[in-house]
């Protein structure tokens, strides 16, 4: 009975999430169709909503437990988020399974996708409601995560926006670095306003003082390592030097203490 309800719940969630008729029929009987998961991603992105993708392989107590947390939580999130359930062995879902490499990941798995496509949190095998709310991040965080997940460097510019012009003027050093042919294809500039309360958590994690006078530039490398932090004006040479130092020394800026960190070179 519970399992039947669970299946129905998944179908309902999928329907409500995508706003289209994506029936959850057995894989063998279903005609070749576009991936329900991929469609849900597009739908959520278009609506500027978060999307929780629930990947499952078989119904078991673990799957039930996750679903039983996920479904009521969606009600609380209201219009901010959508939900889609994806059966990983369904041939129609191959595009989304391959895109996220779920065939070699622990399932059940819930991925939280920001409207910009960044995965803001992954919950393998178990989750609770409190954890789910951590998936909602600021715009700056989502942009940083998207770039890092694409294996790009991020130049996070923390600088106040002009009271008159809502445009941020990028520092010349940052612009030069991003324009350099060596780094341009794999570099993204993200700017955040230190006065924006939504970004407070990101700045706290990066240990950036929001009250600092002048701009602060943080250079991030995948998966999320802080390669360099520069208060005030920064030159391209400084950014390159920080990157090279991080590349040659696994403990660059690290605080691993005595005993060393990483293999000796």
């Amino acid at each position: 009975m519970t399992r039947t309800l669970l299946s129905l719940g998944m179908v309902a969630a999928a329907l409500s999430a995508t706003g289209a008729a994506f029936a959850q029929s057995p894989p063998g009987l279903r005609p070749a169709a576009a991936s329900k998961g991929m469609a849900a991603i597009e739908h959520a992105a278009a609506g500027g909503k978060y999307l929780f993708v629930f990947f499952w392989r078989e119904q078991n107590p673990q799957t039930d437990a996750m679903w039983n947390v996920l479904q009521p939580a969606m009600g609380k999130f209201g219009a901010a988020a959508e939900l889609v359930a994806v059966h990983v062995t369904d041939p129609a879902e191959k595009p989304i399974v391959t895109r996220f490499g779920v065939d070699r990941s622990p399932v059940p798995l819930v991925l939280a996708l920001a409207p910009n496509g960044a995965i803001t949190k992954a919950f393998p095998l178990k989750l609770d409601e409190k954890q789910l709310s951590q998936a909602f991040v600021s715009r700056g965080t989502a942009e940083c995560l998207r770039a890092l997940q694409a294996r790009k460097l991020v130049l996070l510019c923390v600088q106040s926006r002009s009271a008159y012009v809502r445009q941020v003027s990028i520092q010349p050093g940052v612009a030069d670095f991003a324009a350099d042919a060596r780094f341009a294809p794999a570099t993204e500039i993200v700017s955040v306003d230190p006065a924006d309360p939504a970004e407070a958590s990101l700045l706290r994690d990066l240990q950036v003082d929001p009250g600092a006078v002048g701009p602060t530039t943080v250079l991030l490398a995948p998966p999320g390592s802080v390669v360099g932090k520069f208060v005030g004006a920064v030159s391209k040479e400084q950014l390159v030097a920080a990157l090279q130092a991080a590349q040659s020394n696994p403990c660059a800026g690290g605080k691993c203490g005595p005993g060393g960190c990483g293999p000796k070179r």
């Binding site: 939280a112 995560l145 998966p223 390592s225 990483g262 293999p263």
Partner: protein, 403 residues
Amino acid sequence: MKLQTLVLREIFERKSQLLTSFLAILLGITVIVSIKNITYYSEKAVAREMDSLGANVLVLPKSATLQDYYAADMQGETIPEEYVTQLAMSDLAGLDNLSPKLSVPVELQGKTFTLTGILPKSEFQAKAAWSGAGIFSRPIGCGASVGMMGSDDKKTLARKRVIETLEDNEVLLGADVAAKLGLKEADRLEVLGRPFQVTAVLPQTGTVDDSRVFAHLHVVQDLSNQGPVINAIEVIGCCQEISKGLVEKINRLLPDAKVVTITQIADAQIKINRMMSNLSLMFLVIIVFVGGASIANYMYANVFERRREIGTLMALGAGSGLVLRIFLLKALILGAAGGGGGYVLGTVLAVVLGPKLAGVLVLPMPVLALPAVGISVALALAASYFPARRAARLDPCATFQEV
């Protein structure tokens, strides 16, 4: 007749007895020198391994045994590949560099090598960023390496044990494989019926890695029909401090796997070295008793048999000091020859047998020569002192009365 001539003639008077004493001392020193030599180089190898591997952690199947760090993935048992994703997505600090491996034996040009599937960093690094905003508050740069775009030197696999990218048609060859197959970079190679291009020949490491052919993990899984499984996950370059608590945390995350640190593996080797060292000490005690007793017995018998000659020598005017010197010089020569010979023989044995017994390259240690000769000479002198003193105190009249 000079003292030296007297001593040399005395030495070669009772050859069989001399040989017995000489052999006792020679073999004892040989064993001590060879054990010390092998132990020294084995300890050095462990220290070098610790240095080069940092605070690495290995995730293995529960049933895997631990003997050789480098061969930990060659035991046949497997764990699911999803463990890699689980580790990458976890909030645990110190998991920046993961290296999952699957190894299968392959035959190339009639020779057997190990085909090892490795997963490039590019394939799991994105999943590490799935842990969300919390990733920014992790310890800065701890154990993480930043790959500069477009500068992926694949030869660093031998040193860093992690590779940034690896295409499906690429293979990296260990130094021994390349030498035995006569292959170099850009050559073509067919493995299990699939063509590959040699992207790099790795530098010599002196480990089993030299006999490996590295390819993409998923390609090796397909070629060996093993499915999404791996033999081991190496967690590279995490901090000593982190690795202490990391083992327990990974154990909690992956309860069906065995998690060990390089220190634990090194500890096993250190225990063997310590045992060898104790064994060497035991031999030293044995040689002191057996060698000393043998020399003392030989000397007492010698003095007893030669008492008439000693008496004659003393009747002709030789003093007690001269007689004492004759026997002590004889002991000194015996000890020096036994010690020197033992050092040479022990060194040869260590150099020849070391690589076979301990799997390490052993070189001669001249620093052991002096202690070897010193111990041997001291032992011979100490064992000969009382017989020599007895000879020096002989009464010539009493010895002539026996005639």
